[in-house]
Assembly symmetry: C2
Homo-oligomer: 387 residues x 2
C-alpha cells in the first residue's frame, strides 16, 4: 500500500453502522469548503437510488459524500430515493451540513432498502472523527467482495503543489460502459465543470470502460471527480489531466486485478479492425466468453475458443486473415493453427498477467480490454454472496 | 433410456478410430437408398469445414453421414475442407459409396486437423458392421463432454407406420442461434425439400434456439433432417410435423439438462414485452448472466441480479412496472421487493428444474428460454478440456 498524503480541506472517516453485518460499511468524505463534482453513472436501465439523487444535485456544490456498502439501494423504487431525502434531512439536523450539500453512493445487494435509522445514528460520530489522513478507512467502508482497498495518490506542481486522491471498489458485476463501480477522485486543483466534463468522460473511456470481470453492468456504477471550483492553473493543466488519466487507469487495473476469484488478468488486444467500434465489439465478446476465461484459468492456450468468440458477433470478418498471439507467441495465422511450443506457452500462462493479441487483417483500428479468468472461486463467491 | 426402434433402410455403426484418445469417436449413418437432407448451421462466422462441405451438397441425395468427435475440424482453413474431399475419395475407394453421396459432421477441439488416415482405415469395418439397431452406438460416437447419449424415437401413422429417430449431442458451447450443436433426425416419412425447409426452420427456432448453456455459439452447430424424397403422405402430414416438432423440443431439453456441470435447468420466461424480439433479447441477457446462474447454483433467490440483467440491454423498460416470480412465488412487484418466504423459496430452488417469470408490464409479447446454472464443474470441465 502506497502512503496516502492528505488534501487539507477534505476529511475522511468510516464506521461500522451495521449495514452489512460486520466491518466498516459507512464512509464519509467531508469537504471543509464547498466542492464541485462531476459524476458519470451506469448505463444499466435499472439505476441505484443514489444515481437518481445525485443527478438532481449536478452543477451544485457539495460538502459531504456518504458511502454505504452491503446494500445497493437499487431496485427500491421511489422509496429508495425518499430514503435518501429523509437521510439528508436527518443528517442536516444532527450536523452543520445543509440537505442539498450532501451526496450519497451505495454498493451491495440489489433490491434491499437502506437501514436509514442505523445510518443516521452513526453520523455525528463520523463527522466528529473525520480527518484528512483517514482515506484508507473510507476505502475499507466501500468494500464488498474486494480483497484489498484501492487507494492511489499523485502530486504534481503548478503555482503550488496539488494532489489527486483516488479511491475505488470492485470486484464483481464489473463491466462498466460509461462509468465504473464506485470510484471517487478528489483533488485540490481548482477547476470548472464545463472545462473538465469532456476530458473526464474521455479518461473514463480509456480506463474503467476497458475493464470487465464478468460482463455484468452494475446498477450502481458511479465515478465522481471532486474539485474546488476556481480559476484553472493553466501552467499545471496538462500535468493535471495527464495525472488524472494515469490515476484512473491504474485504479481500473486495481479493480480488475482484484476481480472476484481471479487468478490472473487477461489483456485482450484486437488489432487490424476496420473501425474502433468493430475492434471493441470483438474484444468485448472475447472478454465475456466463459470458455475462453476457463481455459486461461487452466493455463490452456486454447486459441480455438478465442477464434470462435471472434466469429460470434455481427462484425464481418475474413477467417483466413486472422492471426492470434498469446504471450507474444504466434498460435494461429491465416485463420489456422501455426506450430508453437505448447509446453512453453502453458508455462508462460501461469503468469499473473497474460497478453492476447488478435489481428483481424482488415484495417488499422484497434481496441484493448482487460478481463479476468473464470475460476472456482468466482462461482463460490457468487453462489453464496447473500447468505 | 427409451428403447430405440429401427428404420429398416438406415443402418448405424460406430468405432473407436483414435481421434479422441479413447471411446467411440467415429459414427456412421448408412442409407440403403438415397435420402434427401435439410441442414441448418451455426451463425458463427467461423464455420467448421463440414458445414462448408455440406452446403455444396445441398439439394443432392446422400447415402452416408460420418460423424467424428474429439476434433471439430473448424478454423482449419482450406486444408480442413480438402481433408474432407480426400476422405470422401478414400471412402469411395474402399466402399460402394460415391464421393458426392457422403456427408460429414464433426465436434470437438477447434483448430486441429482431422486424422484422416486413421478415419479412412476404420471405414470398411464401420460399413460392414452397420445395423439398423445401432443408433445408440452412433450417439455415443458423437459425445464430447456429454454425460449420456441423447436418442429419442417416435412413431406415427399414415398410409403406414412411420418413425422419426433423433440423436443429438451437447453439452458446452451451447447457444444455438439458427441451429444447434450436432443433431440428426432420420425419418422414413417421405418428403420434399421445398415443402419441409420452412417448417423445419421454424421448429428449430422453437427448440434448439431456446436453449443456452453458456451463451457460446459454436463453430460446428449443425442440425440435419434426413428423409426419403417422395410423394408426401397428406393424411399423416400434420401428425408428422407435430411429432417432429415435439421430438426436436425434447432433444433440445435433453441437451440443456446435460449442460456442462449443470445441477439444474432454469426456465426463463419474459412476459409483457412490446415485441417478441424485445422479450427475447432480455431473456437471453438473463440467461447469459454469470451472476444469476451462480445464484441459482447456490439456491439463492437473488432477484436483484435478475432485474439488473433486465436493465442491461438496449430495450427500453419501465423499472416500476417490472414484477418477478421465482417458482411461482412473487419476489418483486412494481420494480421493488415484495415480502416472500425466503426459506421456503430456497428449498424450492433445490429442484432440478426451476421457473423464473419476469413481467415487464409493457405489452403482450413473450419469449422463453432454457438455461443452466453455473457451477464448479463447468469451470473444472472447461479449465481442463483439452488436456
Amino acid at each position: 500500500m502506497e502512503e496516502v498524503c492528505d488534501i487539507g480541506n477534505i476529511k475522511f472517516s468510516a464506521v461500522s453502522a451495521g449495514i452489512k453485518g460486520e466491518g466498516l460499511d459507512l464512509g464519509l468524505a467531508l469537504f471543509e469548503i464547498p466542492f464541485s463534482f462531476i459524476g458519470l453513472y451506469t448505463r444499466n436501465r435499472i439505476k441505484a437510488s443514489h444515481i437518481h439523487y445525485a443527478k438532481k444535485l449536478e452543477g451544485r456544490k457539495i460538502r459531504a459524500l456518504f458511502v454505504t456498502s452491503g446494500c445497493a439501494n437499487a431496485a427500491t423504487g421511489k422509496e429508495g430515493i425518499e430514503d435518501l431525502k429523509r437521510l439528508a434531512r436527518m443528517i442536516s439536523e444532527r450536523t452543520s451540513l445543509k440537505e442539498d450539500e450532501i451526496l450519497f453512493a451505495s454498493t451491495g445487494v440489489i433490491g434491499k432498502r437502506l437501514p436509514i435509522e442505523k445510518i443516521a445514528d452513526s453520523i455525528p460520530f463520523l463527522v466528529d472523527n473525520a480527518d484528512p489522513s483517514k482515506l484508507e478507512d473510507f476505502a475499507y467502508a466501500m468494500m464488498t467482495t474486494d480483497t484489498y482497498p484501492k487507494v492511489l495518490k499523485r502530486t504534481f506542481s503548478g503555482k503550488k503543489t496539488y494532489s489527486i486522491l483516488g479511491v475505488a471498489k470492485g470486484a464483481g458485476m464489473i463491466n462498466p460502459k460509461l462509468a465504473t463501480m464506485l470510484c471517487f477522485l478528489f483533488t485540490d486543483y481548482p477547476g470548472k465543470r464545463e472545462v473538465l466534463v469532456n476530458p473526464f468522460r474521455a479518461y473514463c473511456r480509456e480506463s474503467f470502460e476497458k475493464i470487465t470481470v464478468d460482463s455484468e453492468t452494475s446498477t450502481n456504477d458511479t465515478v465522481m471527480l471532486f474539485f474546488p471550483e476556481g480559476e484553472i492553473d493553466e501552467k499545471a493543466y496538462s500535468i493535471f489531466t495527464e495525472t488524472l488519466k494515469d490515476l484512473m487507469r491504474e485504479l481500473a487495473l486495481l479493480i480488475v486485478r482484484d476481480g472476484e476469484g481471479a487468478t490472473k488478468v487477461i489483456h485482450i488486444k484486437v488489432n487490424g479492425a476496420k473501425t474502433k467500434m468493430a475492434a471493441q465489439e470483438i474484444a468485448r465478446r472475447i472478454a465475456r466468453s466463459t470458455l475462453v476465461k476457463c481455459a486461461f484459468f487452466g493455463n490452456d492456450p486454447n486459441w480455438g475458443r478465442i477464434i470462435a468468440a471472434v466469429g460470434d458477433t455481427d462484425i464481418t470478418i475474413r477467417p483466413e486473415r486472422i492471426s492470434i498471439k498469446i504471450e507474444g507467441m504466434e498460435v494461429a495465422k491465416g485463420g489456422v493453427e501455426t506450430p508453437f511450443d505448447e509446453d512453453e506457452l502453458k508455462r508462460k500462462l501461469t503468469s499473473k498477467e497474460v497478453e492476447v493479441e488478435i489481428d483481424l487483417g482488415l484495417g488499422k483500428a484497434s481496441y484493448e480490454i482487460y478481463t479476468t479468468d473464470l475460476t472456482y472461486d468466482y462461482v463460490k463467491i457468487n453462489a453464496s454472496y447473500r447468505s
